[in-house]
């Protein structure tokens, strides 16, 4: 037991060696490549990019491979890499209004300008195991899917630029949806300035975007079950590529440095109106890297719940409590601290043993008596 705790260097090296072998699995099977993961386990890669807070499908795929498919561990790997990267430039705000749309739906209207575009989704699949996928023989894809898989360079450029307004923008013309204005401030960055509660919506959105999908999902869910004041409509969900631009001072005009795939969700909640504002719809906002609909929707619900102070709502649930949500949503933090209980704690445990024995002795409760003076070997 003593040896197990004080294992030392050799034990660690052996553990790493064993882990490498476990990761590889049966050597009779071909090794999976990061490129295969990026292509065929795309949603894993997307989640890792979202929670790892770094848009890099190749490195995220590498992280998934290195973490044996443990996505929280993979996000951690990506974060630990991200944190060392220099900041060369800050991009201009991306415009999801100019998104090259892959999927776009609204639950609030049957049809709307720009149309409902179902795109690739699990939504209307029957969750029946497709045993054909077990084998290695691949069924040829139908023409529709082949078209969708066309590489970036082959896309029809004429389709680009057809801006599809968001539902919120459409309703904005009537003033029914709360206006969203850019205050022009430098947005908060929790990775450079630790949160000092209460924090603004910018910091909250950043924390939620990086937050654990499962945690944010459950919190969002709780707002639908009475722990929060929420009557949301999925006003619009859109997925697709947006351009990332920077405007270097020496150039004086913006240049596009690449594209990122984003999932955006605008939730609309009815507000009955008060002294300050007429009845209308308030917004909850969700945005995540890659295809992360569950995450973006949950984030939008929690974002709205966290705005209770703006709308004078009573705080009744954990999803409305920003300190609770922000302190616990990061899975790199949470996973680390929960799992640190595996580290040796024998000094603290010894301290507790000592006090427990003393308390029991004082209370002369059940006690094996072995520790009584005289029975132990004298030093």
């Amino acid at each position: 037991m003593y040896v197990a705790v004080k294992g030392g260097e050799k034990a660690i090296e052996n553990a790493h060696e064993l882990l490498a072998r476990e990761r590889r699995g049966d050597p009779a099977l071909p090794e999976i490549s990061a490129a295969q993961i990026a292509e065929q386990l795309r949603l894993s890669v997307d989640r890792v990019m979202a929670e790892g807070s770094l848009y890099d499908p190749e490195l995220a795929a590498l992280a998934v491979k290195q973490a044996c498919g443990d996505l929280v561990e993979a996000a951690f790997l990506l974060r630990a890499y991200r944190t060392t990267l220099p900041r060369l430039a800050v991009s201009l705000p991306v415009s999801t209004g100019d998104m090259e749309i892959r999927r776009r739906i609204s639950a609030a209207y049957k049809d709307l300008p720009g149309g409902q575009i179902l795109g690739p989704t699990f939504d209307y699949t029957h969750r029946l195991l497709d045993f054909d996928l077990l084998g290695a023989s691949e069924a040829p894809l139908g023409p529709g899917r082949q078209e969708e898989r066309a590489p970036l360079a082959d896309r029809d450029e004429s389709a680009v630029g057809a801006k599809i307004q968001s539902l919120a923008e459409l309703l904005d013309h009537e003033g029914l949806v709360e206006a969203e204005v850019d205050p022009g401030d430098e947005p908060a960055d929790l990775t450079r300035n630790p949160p000092s509660y209460p924090v603004g919506r910018d910091a909250r959105l950043q924390a939620l975007a990086r937050g654990d999908e499962g945690f944010v999902l459950s919190l969002g869910y709780s707002t639908q079950r009475g722990y929060g004041n929420s009557h949301p409509f999925a006003g619009e969900i859109r997925l697709g590529l947006v351009e990332v631009e920077i405007a270097p001072e020496e150039l004086g005009f913006p240049v596009c440095i690449g594209e990122v795939f984003l999932t955006e969700c605008q939730m609309l909640s009815k507000h009955p109106g008060d002294g300050e504002r007429p009845a209308g719809f308030t917004r909850g906002y969700g945005l995540a890297f890659g295809t992360c609909e569950r995450k973006a929707m949950s984030m939008a619900l929690v974002d709205r719940a966290l705005r209770s102070d703006e709308f004078g709502e009573a705080v009744k649930g954990p999803a409305q409590d920003q300190e609770f949500v922000l302190s616990h949503c990061d899975n790199v933090e949470a996973s680390g601290f929960v799992q640190h209980l595996k580290l040796p704690h024998h000094v603290d445990f010894q301290s507790e043993l000592e006090i427990v024995r003393r308390l029991r002795k004082a209370a002369s409760g059940p006690w094996d008596g072995k520790e009584e003076k005289g029975e132990v070997e004298p030093c």
Partner: protein, 317 residues
Amino acid sequence: MLMEETGGRCASRTETAPPPVDRAGTATSGYNFAYLDEQTKKMIRRAILKAVAIPGYQVPFAGREMPMPYGWGTGGIQVTASILGEHDVLKVIDQGADDTVNAVSIRKFFVKTTGVAVTNKAAQADIIQTRHRIPETPLNEDQILVYQVPIPDPLRWMEPLETETRKMHAHEEYGVMHVKLYEDIARHGRIATSFDYPVLVEGRYVTSPSPIPKFDNPKMSDCPALQLFGAGREKRIYAIPPYTNVKSLDFEDYPFEIQRWDDCCGLCGATDSFLDEIILNDQGDRMFVCSDSDHCRSRRENRGKPAAGSPDKEESA
């Protein structure tokens, strides 16, 4: 074993101008000295300076993700990485010992990312990073003790909200802390907190000593070494400057007391050190040994030598 491994590197370093650490071809190529970039180190050193200026006050800092998990000592590691120089000698302990797995892992990290010399001997170290213990060997003015801290705010157990505890610290509203200790006495007849025992630093801030056993609390007061505390996940740094008064909270009629053992160390015979209990067999027989492995080993090494001062009581007995 440790010194042997790094001995070559120590020997190759010159006193005047140390060669830059050769990281080519290693897993750390592409990373800065001690992993963190210089901007980050500067930011952390600023936080440390503020912490030293306001003893016991928790200074927020923009903690970074580290390549170890939160809870594994990322705060202490960031502090150490920010203050570590190429000539420094580093010691890393966990539970008092150099050979516990996490101490080994953290030491390897610094060896890999900095190439600094490391030691097991507390007396030889410039910087000692620790988890859960203060070395038994008294520290000196040239040393810095870096603590790894899980929950920096001692009020957190009474009040989970940061917005509230911040105000309580600002107004010195520490009544709840004394109420908690009083409730222990009322319920159990004594204060039942055995580690992470709250202290009052220089008469102002109630501070967490990190989860060291209360046995170690007296070592914090009037300590010649600078004591730095890093909490990575909670993004706080605080400090106890050299020769600062650190008082463990107590009552006049229930004074602070430390752990006592009826046994002595089964290896070196020490009666004045913190002892770990080791279960020897299925019958539950046990022995006690020093938690501080350096202290224990040096006592055993010195046992054979002619006594420099007065001989140890146990040995003369």
